[in-house]
Symmetry: C2
Subunit: 248 residues, 2 copies
C-alpha cells in the first residue's frame, strides 16, 4: 500500500483543481482532504464501482474517466439515472443514508479517490466548508436528475436525445473532456437507450434521423455537436450558467 501511495495523486496537485472549475480550497481543508483520502482505485471499463445494496465502507470521487449510475426493475429493465464525470462524488447516499439504491459502473477505465465513509461525520464536525461542498454536490445531482425526469416524462424521442446530447457535451466540456463541440463517447446506443427510456431500436432510428438532418455526428466513438442551436430548439434546452463547483 505504501507503494501505491507513491503513485497516488496528491490532493495538493489534484489535476481537477488545475482546471478552473472548482472553488478555491483553504489550506487546512486541503490538508484534511489529503488525510481523508485513503487511497486511489483503478477500475476498468465495464466493472462495477459500487453495487446496489452492497455496503462498502468507501465513497469515491471520480478523478478520471466516465461512469454511470443505474437501477433496474426486477425483470431487468434498466434505467440509467445519470452519467458521472471527473469531480463527481459517488456513493454519498451510502455515507448519508447507509443504503445505496443504485449501482455505479465504469464506462471507461477510471481512477477514483477513495474515502472512508465513516469519516464523513468528521467532515461535518470539523470542516463545515467541505460539508457544505458535499451538500452542494448532492443538490446539484438532484437538480440534474430533475432535468432528466422532465425529459423522460415529457419530451418525445428526438427531444430527449437532443437534450441528452447537449447535457453530456456541456458536462464533458466543463471538465475538459470536450474540444471543438465534440467529445469521446464511451457509451453504446444501449446506454443512451436506457437513459432515455426508449428501446434500443427506436433510439437507433432517432439517432439516425438527427444525424441525417445534420444535428450532430457520431463517428469512431466521437460525438460532435453540429447544430447546437437546432438541438437547443428541439430540446428547449438552456445551458446552465457555469458556477464554480466545490470539490471533495
Amino acid at each position: 500500500m505504501t507503494d501505491s501511495m507513491n503513485f497516488q495523486t496528491k490532493c495538493h496537485a489534484c489535476p481537477l483543481r488545475q482546471k478552473n472549475v472548482f472553488r478555491p480550497f483553504e489550506d487546512k481543508e486541503l490538508d484534511f482532504v489529503t488525510k481523508f483520502k485513503t487511497g486511489e482505485l483503478q477500475v476498468e471499463a465495464g466493472s462495477t464501482i459500487i453495487l446496489e445494496d452492497n455496503k462498502t465502507p468507501h465513497i469515491y470521487t471520480l478523478l478520471k474517466g466516465w461512469a454511470f449510475r443505474h437501477t433496474s426493475l426486477a425483470d431487468g429493465r434498466r434505467q440509467v439515472l445519470n452519467f458521472a464525470l471527473p469531480g463527481d462524488l459517488l456513493g454519498l447516499q451510502l455515507a448519508v443514508l447507509n443504503e445505496m439504491q443504485h449501482t455505479v459502473t465504469a464506462l471507461t477505465d477510471t481512477t477514483l479517490c477513495v474515502f472512508q465513509k465513516d469519516k464523513v461525520w468528521s467532515v461535518f464536525k470539523d470542516y463545515p466548508g467541505l460539508a457544505f461542498s458535499m451538500t452542494w454536490m448532492a443538490s446539484r445531482e438532484e437538480q440534474l436528475i430533475d432535468g432528466h425526469l422532465l425529459s423522460v416524462g415529457h419530451r418525445n424521442a428526438q427531444e430527449r436525445l437532443a437534450y441528452l446530447l447537449l447535457h453530456l457535451h456541456d458536462r464533458a466540456e466543463i471538465v475538459g473532456y470536450a474540444q471543438n463541440q465534440s467529445f469521446d463517447a464511451p457509451f453504446t446506443q444501449a446506454h443512451l437507450s436506457d437513459a432515455l427510456g426508449i428501446t434500443p431500436v427506436h433510439t437507433n432510428r432517432t439517432i439516425r434521423t438527427l444525424q441525417s438532418e445534420n444535428y450532430f455526428s457520431w463517428k469512431q466513438n466521437r460525438i460532435r455537436i453540429l447544430d447546437r442551436e437546432g438541438l437547443e430548439d428541439l430540446a428547449a434546452y438552456e445551458r446552465d450558467v457555469k458556477t464554480l463547483r466545490p470539490l471533495i
Copy 2:
C-alpha cells in the same frame, strides 16, 4: 408580526417530533433551530410557495399539508417531480446552489416553518448534526427522484400508477396522513398525469382499469389501497425500510 409569533408553533413542541419518525435532537440543536426559524407561513391550496428562478431569502420546512415540486418545458408541458409532505425541506437548492430550477406549489392549505437561507452557513459552521440532517434530506430526496425516473423511464402506465399510489400511501403513512390503507388525496388526476408522464386521458383510463380490477378505490378524495400485494407485483415495488429521518 409579533402577533403572529404568538401563534407560532414552538420548535420544542413541534408536532412532527411527537410522531416517532424523526431522530432525537440535542437540546442545543433545538434551541438553535428555534432561533433559526424566523416565522411561520400559511399558504393556501393552489398558491406558489417557491417560484422557479425567483430568489427569495427563505427556505421552508413543510409543517402541515401537501405540496408538490414541478418544472415545465417552454411550451407548457409540466412535470411533477415529487410530492412534499410534512417534514420535507423546500428550497434547499436555493440555499445551496443559489438557484431554483423548479417551482413548489401548495396542494392543500399548508403551514410552513420559515428559515433565512443565509443562515444555512451558520448551520454548517456550528451545528454539524443539523447540517448532516440537511444533507440527509437532500440525499433522500434524490433517492426518491431516482425511483421516479426509473418508473417514468421504464414502467408502463399501469405499473407507474401502481408505483405512485404505493409511494404516496407509504409516505403519507409515515407522517400520520394515512389510516387503514387509505389517505386523503389532495390532487387531481391531472397532477398524477404530470407526475407519471402520461396524458390525463390515458391516466384516467388507467385509473379506471385498476379500480375496476379492485386494486384500489378513489372516492370523495380518498384513496384506499385494496390489493397491496397486487399493486406491489404490478409495480415491482418494495417498501422502504423505515429509517428515522432527521428534521430541521
